[in-house]
Amino acid sequence: MCANCGCSDHDAVTVTALADGHARPAEMPAQHMHDHDHDHDHDNHAHGDHDHAHPHAHNHNRPHHEHEHGHAHQHGTLIALEQEVLARNSQLAERNRGWFEGRNILALNLVSSPGAGKTTLLERTIRDLHDEPVISVIEGDQATFNDAERIGGTGCKVVQINTGAGCHLDADMLARGLKQLAPPLDSVVMIENVGNLVCPALFDLGERAKVVILSVTEGDDKPVKYPHMFRASRLMILNKIDLLPHVSFDVERCIDYARRINPDIEVLQLSATTGEGMNDWYVWLRRQVAVDHVAEATP
């Protein structure tokens, strides 16, 4: 079972470069150490028929009946730990951040619920910008290469990460994806996270900013229903605004909710299908790219 997402072993994460189409299992030895393949009898314990592995060999010789009786009244030694549970992911995310900075790459983490239009937004952006800046894409989905194939249709570099049962990308998966992707210097990497407004908010990938995409066919109260995601994002894109005449979505109320959760959040309204408002997004994107160049020019 994966330490970060709880995915099961048989649904192992795969990283696939669309150029050669070969899926590579993303080796995650530290996180997949608990192979459930090992019979073990517990004296005086009724554990049923389940099998589980014991990576800590010293446990094998310990008489398990002690758990219930032997130490019930003994005082143990207190060890202060003060350890952040997500520390490992945070460390790997910082490595990714350095990797991006060293290559002058702007990385954006695109998050939304499924169907908000992340892939359509990316397709149009890549086609419209004509390599200024050069964009490559990491696609995260539980299964299929569908989105990577759509992005690949624009001619840009793309790698698909399939998380199996996992509900978000983590920093380790991204690091493996980046090795496959090999994005050029001075470019943009768009990370399309697994469609999910909950878990991706907790896992830093090393991106410069999260961009949350909310379509007007969803509820205008999404920012208050999923506050962590809107709080973690620098930009909220309201997508599918061409459908506003047909739905009861209140744009002002939605923006008000988002700003109450995150007063600093920037907001853009657009339709990736009709192209309305896309220019504002390109201006925003190029401004982020320019910040990178300024930072590099100022030691």
Binding site: C5, G6, R62, Q74, E82, C167, V198, L202, P227, H228
Partner: protein, 109 residues
Amino acid sequence: MHELGITQSIVEMVAGRAADARIQRVTVEIGKLSAILPDAIRFCFDICAQGTAAEGAALEIIAVPGRGRCRDCGREQAMDHWLASCACGACGLQCIAGEELKIKSMEVI
């Protein structure tokens, strides 16, 4: 969903530090404004701990109440939810506590 993986991380971290000792108690701090459900962590803990040095250990969860600082007047106050607003009328408290997800300590024998 993510609580299972997070519990697995907690168990791996404490079991890794325990070496040959057996873990009697694990104390974890979870902020009330974190996106982590303590009940879900409790539910997963015994299962994740099986076959590790933490098997049979008690899990103690310290719930840390949310606190925020007003962006306008600077007053610190309780913050029960993300839409909490200050008595001065400004909304948008800056969270200063309540997002914790930390292993505080463990007791070993």
